[in-house]
Amino acid sequence: MSARTLVTGIGVAAPSGLGVEDFWAATRVGKNAIGPVTRFDASSYPSRLAGEIHGFDAREHLPGRLVPQTDRVTQLALAAADHAFADAGVAPGDIDPYGMGVVTAAGSGGVEFGGNELRKLWGRGAKHVSAYQSFAWFHAANSGQISIRHGLSGPSGVVVSDHAGGLDALAQARRQIRAGGRLTATGGFDAPVSPWGWAAQLAGGMMSAGAEPERAYLPFDEDAAGYVAGEGGALLVLEDEDSARSRGARTVYGELAGYGATFDPRPGSGREPGLRRAIDTALTDAGCHPAEVDVVFADAAGTKRLDREEAEAITSVFGPRGVPVTAPKTTTGRLGAGAAPVDVVSAVLSMREGLIPPTTNVELSPAYDLDLVAVRPRTASVRTAVVLARGRGGFNSAVIVRAVD
């Protein structure tokens, strides 16, 4: 249990960039990546903005035969996985296949593919449904395809905890490594930008109806009125420390040092939500005092009730304005299960550069006693970062990443 679990590779597929360098160049300065929906005609829907990954051509990233077999979410996951393994410098054959696994989080599964097949079923008849539907739309598609492409014969895992799942996946990956695995690829992805996906997002009732890309998603702002949905996520290569050292891993981004997960009391109970407890659990797990934390990457739901709950939890653990808080996802929208792994990437890159990326567009509401890193990035020595994620229904997860010398 004492051996550390290290982050040795990163792959990102986000509206702000494909691959680590593009992503960070945009994120570190808070460059907006939210815009009008272009993947379908959204003019008849009340929410018309999205964080889309423009210029992603699956044929440039996947073998041709895989393209018609996969939903966009899986194509993004496979592209990110290629980046992550290249970044880690691990090629098939380097490590015993049984020592390598994959755990991903999914929110909605292969939504666009599933919607297209449902349309064929009801519009044209059952015989028109694709044979690939049987494995393109289910939530395990990403882990399955990544395991095949990278020769990972160890355990494959898939967790669903709405937006909190991305952190639960990382924790499950660490558990696999502690149980004797050498390497686990882990992260999360969602891709809701299709008519059928949009219907579900709208049914959730928390989407912003804002029309201006820089005013639509404003967590912790007095004008907070919902979220903008985005697509993508991140995949990280986690490795057992001894294993990483013995193969001479070229980059160690940091350590996955702590984790905690809780569930809120039943709605209407009037009792305290579970987020504070999740943070406390993660700190205890990491053996870390709140004063050691240099930055918190917030879940930043963008609705008043959830923002207030999160601000209160952060304040109760770290004290009023006790720690810098940021939410770079204001530039991309919320990526579902992909959001938190992208924030973990931002956290380790903050450590690398000594810079906290900003929460663009937001003017902090006086109702919250937070030290929000708004508008501009902040230079800071970052050694320990907390990443928070919450999911619909009451899921709360917290992860702590720490610099490794």
Binding site: Q69, A126, F138, S153, G154, S161, W196, W198, T262
Partner: protein, 422 residues
């Protein structure tokens, strides 16, 4: 001293009768619940047989609001969780919500609700730009099956770690394995865990028709599921849920709980080969079995019964038989093994948990359930599949396995807690 994890409550909602008692009666009598599909008009499909649960949510105390909010699979899970929780007796001794979690498996989430909702928002497939105003408020929760785990958490009052595990057809083993891991590492003291699926819907039928994975014995629905039989023609869809209460052993003993079994070991491996195809030698499933046995500190000779995956496809039956020979050696020929999918069909993700329930009940009764419909054995499947009739058999340690799309293979070893030697 490592924390040991035991099952102290069981709840089952299966085709052929609601509740754990009805489930076991059906299995031990070797009856089948496969029939012509009645849930909707399936006349246009290639395969029109399934094992359906006769389920009235109102009879189980679900309110109209709950019924409206939840997909059939979520309803199954809540009903099975209530049975398991009542069976555990934990309600009487009290529960620390913060130390109680949920790990719920589902293979395919809510295809029934999605199918229904899609028809509404697309005006029966006419609109590409769907009309979201026809969607029910629950549509988001049907997309994201963590809503199932949330419903179970609300039903039992869990406020610890809660998640849904969705590894396709191994979900029902993997979710329980995850729950056991959380108790072992100290993240929870009590876990409510299992799996649920209700896949019998037009879209599911259509996609399995397209790959010809499901049976065409439409004229013989009662004997359509024929694992290990030479006349098999593919699997038969099923549905249902099994949910368990897991506790740390000493805590369970301290409160005088009935202990059904210990989760002595589990492992998962991946073929990394093909999304739907299997390597004929079964090596990754064999590896999962070997690692699970090692974790349980058991030898193949110690296993009294194998609850097989036995989906009823030729590819699986050969793959699985090869895997047992690799992992168990000579003992593969000696250990009785059976597929309850011959009776309750294949409910995709949840069936793994239903097979754990069958394993636990086999240990309780010292009776192993049969493989129904096995009248003309496939000569290439030459192990003891307990054809047709249940068998009285001393059962103290069980191996249960699952394989699924994505190339996932999982194995779990269950034992009588006082049996374990190491």
């Amino acid at each position: 001293m490592a924390r040991r994890v035991v099952i102290t409550g069981v709840g089952v909602l299966a085709p052929g009768g609601t509740g754990t008692g009805a489930f076991w009666r059906m299995l031990s009598e070797g009856r089948t619940a496969t029939r012509e599909i009645t849930l909707f008009d399936a006349s246009g499909f290639r395969s029109r047989v399934a094992a359906e649960a006769d389920f009235d949510p109102r009879a189980h105390g679900l309110t109209p609001r709950e019924i409206c909010r939840m997909d059939r699979a979520a309803q199954f899970a809540v009903v099975a969780a209530r049975e398991a929780f009542a069976d555990s007796g934990l309600a009487l001794t009290g529960l620390d919500p913060h130390r109680t979690g949920v790990s719920l498996g589902t293979g395919v989430g809510a295809p029934g609700a999605l199918d229904r909702e899609y028809r509404a928002v697309s005006h029966d497939g006419r609109l590409d730009l769907v009309d979201h105003t026809y969607a029910s408020p629950g549509l988001y929760d049907h997309f994201v099956p963590s809503s199932f785990a949330a419903e179970v958490a609300w039903a039992v009052g869990a406020e610890g770690p809660v998640t849904t595990v969705s590894t396709g057809c191994t979900s029902g083993i993997d979710s329980v394995a995850h729950a056991a891991d959380l108790i072992r590492e100290g993240s929870a003291d009590v876990m409510v865990t299992g799996a649920t699926d209700a896949p019998i819907s037009p879209i599911t039928l259509a996609c399995f028709d397209a790959i010809k994975a499901t049976t065409t014995y439409n004229d013989q629905p009662g004997t359509a599921s024929r694992p290990f039989d030479a006349s098999r023609k593919g699997f038969v869809l099923g549905e249902g849920a099994a949910v368990f209460v897991l506790e740390e052993l000493t805590a369970a003993r301290r409160r005088g709980a009935h202990v059904y079994a210990e989760i002595a070991g589990h492992a998962a491996r991946s073929s990394a080969f093909h999304m739907t195809g299997l390597r004929p030698d079964g090596r990754e499933l064999a590896e999962a079995v070997t690692v699970a046995l090692d974790a349980a500190r058991l030898h193949p000779a110690d296993i009294d019964y194998v609850s097989a995956h036995g989906s009823g496809t030729r590819q699986n039956d050969l793959h699985e038989t090869a895997a047992y020979k690799l992992a168990l050696g000579e003992h593969a020929h000696r250990i009785p093994m059976s597929s309850i999918k011959s009776m309750i069909g294949h409910s995709l993700g949840s069936v793994g948990s239903m097979e754990i329930a069958a394993s636990v009940l086999a240990m309780k009764h010292h009776v192993v359930p049969p493989t129904a419909n096995l009248r003309t054995p496939d000569p290439e499947c030459d192990l003891d599949y307990v054809p047709l009739h249940a068998r009285e058999h001393r059962t103290d340690a069980v191996l249960t396995v699952g394989s699924g799309f994505g190339g996932f293979h999982s194995a779990m070893v269950l034992t009588r807690p006082d049996r374990r030697t190491a």
